[in-house]
């Protein structure tokens, strides 16, 4: 265990140094990450305005709080390893990585965390600005804050795991980014970016059964205070279940893929 901690510390230092060179790219990425939720917040606000200021049980202020939460959670849970992985296989860079004593997953984890830590100071002021512009109303209690921590961690892990699950398909096909695009659209529809799951109309019942909502919508609702403590506990339980399932799926798929891996430069 000690050994693992020391290794992680070394990788962290290396990744922070690398991240410092990507400042501009990070800012640009943040810009896009913010515009998306603002676009939909504006749409829902306009829609609510014609309905007397509220849709369902959400007022414009509630929507604002929801989307601020969604943006924050989105940034905290994002993962992009599938794209990198496909690139590495195609460029033949995977094989040397597999020869290292550490599973590529560890590097991926550190790179992921470092990016988020580095970009958070830039994101927070913008979120405050959005919250103030739209007069966001948070119904959060301390119980919610406490539950938010495990929820967002589970969501991040879940999204990470699913990212790797999709990435393993790269062992079989070079068209992973095609699969990723379709996957991204499913996430867009069912994870809560387009709308809180309760407002998805006919699609809501499907959405609750899919894992995507538990990557984004669940922790966002907890943070905003839109879910009761009981509901929050239930959400967390479902998140844990999906994480376990995706972990098992990944383990199995990775083993199968590795065996089948007859690579460029294997």
């Amino acid at each position: 265990m000690r050994q693992l901690l020391r290794v992680y510390r070394a990788i962290f230092v290396a990744e922070f140094q690398a991240a410092a060179q990507y400042r501009v790219q990070s800012v640009l990425w943040l810009l896009f990450a913010i515009i998306r939720p603002v676009v939909f917040l504006a749409a829902w606000s306009a829609a609510a305005a014609t309905q007397g200021g509220r849709i369902g049980d959400m007022t414009i202020s509630d929507f604002a709080a929801y989307y601020v939460a969604v943006t924050l959670v989105s940034q905290l849970t994002m993962s992009w390893n599938a794209y990198d992985f496909e690139l590495e296989i195609r460029q033949g860079k995977l094989s040397p990585k597999l020869l290292r004593p550490l599973h590529p997953l560890h590097y991926s984890v550190v790179e992921n965390i470092v990016f988020k830590v580095a970009t958070m100071p830039a994101l927070l002021p913008v979120l405050v600005l959005i919250a103030w512009t739209f007069q966001a109303r948070f119904a959060t209690t301390w119980g919610h804050v406490l539950l938010f921590v495990p929820s967002v961690l589970l969501a991040a892990a879940l999204r990470f795991m699913f990212g790797w699950l999709m990435a393993t398909f790269a062992f079989w096909t070079t068209r992973v980014h095609g699969i990723m695009h379709v996957y991204d659209r499913l996430v867009f529809l069912f994870a809560g970016q387009l709308a809180p799951l309760s407002l998805l109309g006919g699609l809501a019942s499907i959405a609750y059964w899919l894992p995507f909502g538990y990557m984004l919508w669940a922790p966002s609702e907890i943070l905003r205070g839109g879910a009761s403590i009981d509901q929050a506990l239930g959400m967390i339980a479902i998140q844990a279940m999906w994480l376990a399932l995706s972990w098992l799926g990944f383990l199995g798929l990775w083993q199968l893929g590795l065996r089948q891996f007859s690579a460029v430069g294997a």
Binding site: V38, T50, Q51, V182, L189
Partner: protein
């Protein structure tokens, strides 16, 4: 033979991806209108028309402009621009239309399809004048976006690496999917001036929805002429200051 087949398979997959993207955006609009009958005065059919125009503009922009301007900037960076400039065709035109992307035509086609769906939903709703206004403002919108891209690319004469500026442009592109009037002040202004994707989509959509007045059309045409003239002037300025890679 295998290569040709693989190319066609890749093409089919690209088109399929486009289809998924467009369908999910359509679903997004439908879900919104599950809860309300109008947004800022836009009915469901009119919003679908706008979505159609959005994909039309995005596809048109991607088809010709994106790759050509990208290649141009690469030429500047690698110093191979001279080979293009000595050809007898007007350099601005050559730079802009050399490379054409087929999948993006699919996006345009889907934009037209969505527009048609919207029109069907609205039940017509426009007259001959509106149709003319639509055509005019659509062309204006495309020219505005083209001018912006030309200005950004011209900056490579001095700064060489302007991809980051382009990335800023593309991140704002997403906001074009809704009418520009739903956005808060600062964003609305940005989308109408600096990054004109907002008006490039909203104004033609207003025209086809029968919501645009003559003053709007005139303003759009006037603004476009000014912008095009400026971009062209700026391009020539950049060309003049270009001393070549192998002086």
């Amino acid at each position: 033979m295998q290569f040709a087949l693989e190319y066609r398979a890749n093409l089919a997959l690209d088109l399929f991806e486009e289809l998924i993207i467009v369908i999910s955006s359509l679903v997004a609009v439908l879900i919104l209108y599950d809860h309300t009958s109008a947004i800022n005065g836009w009915t469901e059919g009119q919003m679908i028309e706008l979505l159609g125009v959005y994909y039309l503009v995005q596809g048109a922009q991607a088809v010709v402009f994106e790759t050509s301007f990208e290649r141009f900037m690469e030429h500047v960076r690698m110093g191979t621009l001279d080979f293009i400039l000595i050809k007898p065709v007007d350099s601005q035109f050559m730079i802009s239309t050399r490379h054409v992307q087929v999948p993006q035509f699919g996006q345009i086609a889907m934009g037209v399809l969505v527009l048609a769906i919207g029109i069907a939903q609205v039940g017509g709703g426009f007259g001959v004048l509106d149709a003319l206004a639509f055509a005019a403002t659509l062309v204006c919108g495309l020219l505005l976006v083209y001018s912006l891209l030309l200005v950004l690319s011209t900056l490579s004469f001095w700064f060489v690496r302007v991809e980051n500026l382009l990335a800023i442009f593309w991140s704002f592109l997403d906001a074009g999917r809704f009418p520009v009037d739903v956005y808060p002040g600062w964003l609305r202004v940005t989308l109408s001036t600096v990054v004109p994707i907002g008006i490039a989509v909203t104004v033609p959509a207003q025209a086809i929805a029968g919501r645009l007045e003559l003053a709007g059309v005139v303003a759009m045409i006037g603004g476009t002429i000014i912008m095009c003239w400026f971009a062209s002037w700026f391009w020539r300025r950049g060309l003049r200051s270009y001393t070549g890679a192998s002086a």
